[in-house]
Symmetry: C2
Subunit: 119 residues, 2 copies
């Protein structure tokens, strides 16, 4: 695999809430996603999940608080914790998580995306 | 753990080639490192290693080629592959790798750093 340029990869798709795999490290994947509006409440019962904001502003709502992430900031959502990402304007995000993780976790949703689409 | 701001963390240290842990996801760690000059040839026999350039320009020399990474670019060094990172000017990098990985891999070097220092 060659090097990956984030903005080059982001230029290849427009849809929201559909993570695209850009790299694998051991059994983990790095994914890029564009988000805007509200996602669904969900959790991942068997893994932590990393959010890194590349551009824009991402909010992650938890039961007791809301985390606000700007470009150059990251957050680790612990496994099993209910959370709902949302963004007032389009935001570009990198996710890091084990291969096979579904974006909506254990929630049943129209926003569930294929989980191994490379770009 | 709260959110992590990369530039805030980088402002807390000056030394080169000494990765600092900023976050854990399952049994993986995210580390920030400032690099300048030449590192040593080394490999990690049991894990891939991710380099993400936050600021500046990082070069990674391999037996047959040299990869040049600028800010907003990443590269996955496959396990077991000999490589030597270097940077003409100071460069800020994020590493992602399993907890416990030593920076110089199996090479014996004065550049070997403690591998679980948080910042």
């Amino acid at each position: 695999m060659g090097k990956v340029n984030f903005q080059d990869k982001f230029s290849k798709f427009d849809e929201h809430w559909t993570p695209k795999v850009i790299a694998e490290m051991n059994d983990y994947q790095f994914k890029l996603v564009k988000v805007q509006g509200e996602f669904v409440w969900h959790n991942h019962s068997d893994t932590d999940e990393v959010f890194i904001v590349i551009e824009g502003c991402l909010k992650i709502e938890f039961a007791e608080e809301t985390i606000v992430l700007n470009a150059g900031e990251m957050y680790v959502v612990p496994k099993g914790i209910q959370h709902k990402p949302y963004a007032d304007e389009e935001c570009k995000v990198m996710l890091v998580e084990p291969k096979g993780v579904v974006n909506t976790g254990e929630a049943d949703s129209d926003l569930t995306a294929s989980n191994d689409v490379w770009i």
